[in-house]
Amino acid sequence: MTPLLQVENIAKMYGARIGCANVSFDLYPGEVMGIVGESGSGKSTLLNCLAGHLQPDAGAVCFDTRTEGLRNTVTMSEPERRMLSRTDWAFVHQHARDGLRMNVSAGGNVGERLMAVNARHYGDIRAKAIDWLGRVEISADRIDDRPTVFSGGMQQRLQIARNLVTGPRLVFMDEPTGGLDVSVQARLLDLLRGLVREMGLSAIIVTHDLAVVRLLADRLMVMKDGHVIESGLTDQVLDDPQHAYTQLLVSSVLQV
């Protein structure tokens, strides 16, 4: 089985400082990978390098494209990479405002990716938008409302609908539950878990919330100071942490 994403020795420097270094892993279809670590550990830098938002200084990110098999997305041309990022890839931002067009209605937000890949039938686009709003539990009568009048949780769900509407195979998520209160978080996680399983998505989730990875991720990478210090199956890493930092991280979780 070929991996969907093959990451080899990715490194990104900010001047003399290390953003992330020597990160390698394979992600197989249908697998969800969690990346945890404290603030400044390089998780978001890594995610942005993988998603093509940042140009890594070294290494390769190979993606299993539909037509040509494994391609290095770091060296592929920008049009190809942007094409990937609006078809096979999806990126869920921590702040929904970064991922949504706030002055465009919910339906327009969901439809944008469809129109970007040349959907030109209004009725079809609208039907798909309604379908997707339903899947993320936003009622169809809110389709013409702008995201500005939505609650934080709804905005985040809308962002997810907007990203998944073109049927991507790989989803990058940057703290998808950040800034949401716990009950809304729980519903969002439930929703995400359902969608990931149902669509057979692969996902890379960056978070500092261990509960999120426990629920969603099959595998886990722990990062500190730009380096991966421990990786393995989620339950294995969380229940039997080997590295001192991971032990600290796991023991820092508040028990209620």
Partner: protein
């Protein structure tokens, strides 16, 4: 005529603008940046169009200026006088006689010929501007041909109004490549963008020139189930009886009286001289007498 260089601008400037025009013609619909000059008029009054006109005018040209289709409005009169004074060119109000026509917000009703140049005044050359505020991003979108966003605007129109409500500055795709803002002409004029004449667009404040060469394919964007439809007032001209021209609506009194008339004054006048009479033409003639 010793006070000014011919057509106000100095020769080096005209050369720079002509280069931009040639590049624009070579890449139809592409916005060519140019070093726009200060003109003796405020931005928004046609500084871009005036610079393009100045660069293409020759002493043998016959110049016409229209504003919203009319030859006798302030903007049209002052620009026409400007070139009468600074270039000494002949001017005309007849579309057929003009070799260079500068226009704001309209395309003349009379089809243009191959030896005629139409110069548009453009306020905002970037069709994606109100959707994507970043110039860096819009240029990237143009260069990578990512025009999905333009349809988001049309989608929003339909979802809010039930139909594509954009009535002017209706986005077009030129020769299957660049999406272009045809300047704020009514969408009624969009089909005329495929013409025999040369079309040059000048945006002075935004420092952009773009062009549509003769016989170039210009397609108005739309949806399969909401096709593009040019619209006009459902009426005939009350002065000349024309049913095929774009109409202005004029309020006549406080009692709801109104009349429709061609916005292209030359077209209307020519038809009336030829003997065409509209519904209210007789009443108006009596008033005047």
């Amino acid at each position: 005529m010793t006070d000014y260089n011919f057509a106000y601008l100095d020769e080096q400037t005209k050369r720079m603008i002509r280069r931009a025009i040639l590049k624009g013609l070579a890449i139809p619909g592409y916005q060519v940046p140019f070093a726009s000059r200060e003109m003796p008029m405020p931005y928004g009054w046609g500084t871009g169009g005036v610079q393009v006109s100045a660069a293409v005018l020759t002493p043998e040209d016959r110049f016409k200026v229209i504003d919203q289709g009319a030859d006798d409005t302030t903007n049209a009169v002052s620009i026409r006088r400007f070139f009468e004074k600074t270039a000494g060119v002949a001017v005309t109000e007849a579309t057929a006689e003009a070799s260079v026509i500068q226009t704001r917000h309209r395309i003349p009703e009379l089809p243009l010929r191959e030896d005629q140049i139409l110069v548009y005044q453009v306020p905002i050359p970037e069709p994606l501007r109100f959707l994507e505020p970043s110039e860096v991003e819009t240029r990237k979108m143009h260069s990578l041909e990512e025009y999905g966003l333009m349809h988001v605007k049309l989608y929003e129109d339909i979802s809010q109004h039930g139909t594509i409500a954009t009535a002017y500055a209706y986005p077009v795709k030129v020769e299957g490549r660049y999406v272009m803002d045809p300047s704020p002409i009514p969408k009624f004029d969009n089909p005329k963008l495929e013409m025999a004449g040369v079309q040059l667009f000048g945006a002075g404040r935004e420092q952009r020139i773009y062009a549509v060469p003769p016989y170039t394919q210009v397609v108005s964007l739309d949806f399969d189930d909401y096709p593009f439809a040019p619209t006009k007032a459902d009426h005939a001209c009350d002065l000349c009886g024309a049913t095929d021209s774009y109409l202005d609506e004029l309020i006549m009194d406080d009692a709801g009286g109104r009349m429709f008339m061609c916005s292209d004054t030359d077209y209307c006048g020519t038809r009336r001289v030829a003997g065409h009479v509209g519904a209210q033409a007789a009443a108006l003639a009596e008033d005047a007498a």
